[in-house]
Amino acid sequence: MKEPSIEEFLRENKPVVPDDPTFILETRRRMAEVEGIKGEVDRQRRYGRTVLIITLVVGVVIGALATALAFLFPIEPARLTGESFWEGVRLFLDGWKYILMPAVAVSAILLGLLLARDRRSAELL
């Protein structure tokens, strides 16, 4: 009589999976939990992005206005005493106008990149 080979033994004794009707229900429950976590992460990411965009927009607008002001209305520092608030502001802007321009440009570029990435993510979704 031929001895059964290990291959035959393995093929004839496939493990039997116990029937478990709750398996798919458990999978659904875990998927719902995952959806909840994903929703919360998305909400927080959207909030962070919104705050960043608002900050950059405000930075760009105020920075651009200040730079425009400094260039459109040049001042003679010698004639300003800097005693009043507005004179102080004008003196400050005049002193910092060449720093403000690159800062505004960087903010604008960052804003552009952020919005472009958001649009790409939205398209992928």
Binding site: E3, P4, S5, I6, E7, F9, L10, R11, N13, K14, P15, V16, V17, P18, D20, F23, I24, E26, T27, R28, R30, M31, V34, E35, K38
Partner: protein, 161 residues
Amino acid sequence: MTQERFITLVKAEQESLRRFLLALCSGDAALADDIAQEALVRAYVASGSFRGLSKFSTWLFRIAYNCYIDHTRRVRPEQVPLEDRAALRVPSDDASDASFRYQALYQALDRLPEKEKAVIALFYFEDRSIREMADILQMPSGTIKYHLSMGRNHLKACIRL
């Protein structure tokens, strides 16, 4: 991938996936189902990145195998060299002895290294091709054949038919 589409695909694969993990877990059905659930959660989270380059089932089995490997790394039992273990006696073909036959099979599988256990389970229990096994286990075909041959030899030494 929508939740319903994912569930539909999982329903078609769940028995096969659970059997594969049951063999890897040497008959511990509760542990196998826990790992299966963990694998399904990981697969669902990553389902957005599934581009259909391989079959869904291959992709799912790969995730499940990785979950199993992660589990074994967390809980590593003491390994006893194969040579030190006595051969298991498999009862006759009588149907009443089926549970003992499974017990002997699981005990023998428990003695195999993970890779050999995985190739034996995929090849003999899931009827997977060498190429599919190479995709699932992320190994070259030659390595799969080597582990298959080694696994068979080790099982022959462990099980007396």
